[in-house]
Amino acid sequence: MDKVRLLLSLITIVIIVVPIVGMLLAYQDNLLGLFIPPEINEIADDLMGGDGLDEFELEPVGQPQYDEASRTFSATFQFKNTFPIDVTIKSLSGNIKCKEHRFHLGNASLSEPVSIDKGETETMTVLGTWTEEAISHFHTKHAGEETVDVVLVDFAVDVSGIQIQLDQSQMEQSMQVPNPVYEG
């Protein structure tokens, strides 16, 4: 009976010790590798090498369209996925301000989610709605201008479930929009 007990105790010790000691011996020249596998270094390199948020830039494509009835304009942008993975931009929203007067003109949002493969460029459509105050601002400050320079600020982007909020100090997207009150 004692032999059985001894054997079982021995089995327990061997089971615990052998894999751990074996792994320690295998990594004796690189003990850090025991806790940090090479994949983590590769991921870190990818993240450091990628431009990520630094290159989060929207390139305007064509002229924005304006619908007077709904006071809504739509603008198309190109976005290059500089992240090291395929991403889906599920939502994007921000405030629109007059570039010259920093007056709040309305809000912008993404028309529909966009999936972009790693390193690829896709187009996305942003919809913006002018407020009543914005229309007054266009009347009083930009009456004679066919287009007005505006900026998109205070971005809130949902990229594959990660919500990124960028305030004005981090990102400001300039664009030209048709002046809704221009009667040229």
């Binding site: 059985v4 327990t12 074996g22 596998p37 090291p84 479930g161 990660i162 919500q163 100090s169 981090q170």
Partner: protein
């Protein structure tokens, strides 16, 4: 026939078989899973197979892999001991087999849960990231040296069915220990004169 049935510790047999089943199942199905964002980061945790998925790359940590091997061998030895004991519960060495086998699934389960709780507490204390044990929460990630950027992610965690199978295995093994008193008592010998 009835004698055979009464000689076997059925709880032990079921416990041993379930323990071995738990090993097989846990190779493919984690006990607990944490997902960050839309599968951007995935943690598949079980004492038998723990791996991490980060931005589409799956990897294991060598030291944790060694601990996984320890767990596999411990559970396997426990399962085999329970099966052998269950068939011959009245042998002189059977109690040793039972003592060796019945506690290990429970201890594996307890170490796993305690490990998870400690890890989530450390994440909260050191990294200020609130990792749920069950359910979903939105956590704001600290970004050093960057003002004006806020990054928040949805963290979803849940215990999977394989965890509950391990709970059943541990429960059956404990039941086998309790049932042992009944099954180990040899029937009184009848004397024929």
């Amino acid at each position: 026939m009835k004698a055979i049935f009464t000689k076997i510790n059925w709880f032990g047999l079921a416990g041993g078989a379930t323990t071995i089943l738990v090993i097989a199942v846990s190779m493919f199905y984690p006990w607990w899973q944490l997902t960050v964002g839309d599968d951007l980061v995935k943690v598949n945790a079980s004492p038998v197979n723990m791996n991490f998925g980060f931005l589409g790359t799956t990897f294991t940590i060598p030291f944790i892999w060694a601990l996984n091997v320890v767990s596999i061998l411990i559970l396997l030895a426990s399962g085999i001991a329970m099966l052998v004991y269950s068939i011959i519960p009245r042998k002189s060495y059977s109690e040793h087999l039972l003592g060796f086998g019945y506690k290990k699934p429970l201890f594996t389960l307890l170490f796993f849960v305690i490990g998870l709780v400690v890890t989530t507490v450390i994440c909260q204390a050191v990294l200020s990231i609130n990792v749920p044990l069950m359910g979903s929460t939105t956590s704001t990630l600290p970004i050093p040296f960057a003002s004006g950027i806020t990054i928040s992610v949805l963290l979803s965690a849940a215990f999977q069915w394989s965890f509950w199978l391990a709970v059943v295995a541990a429960g059956l093994c404990i039941a086998a220990r309790l049932y042992h008193r009944k099954v180990a008592i040899a029937p009184s010998a009848t004397t024929v004169t």
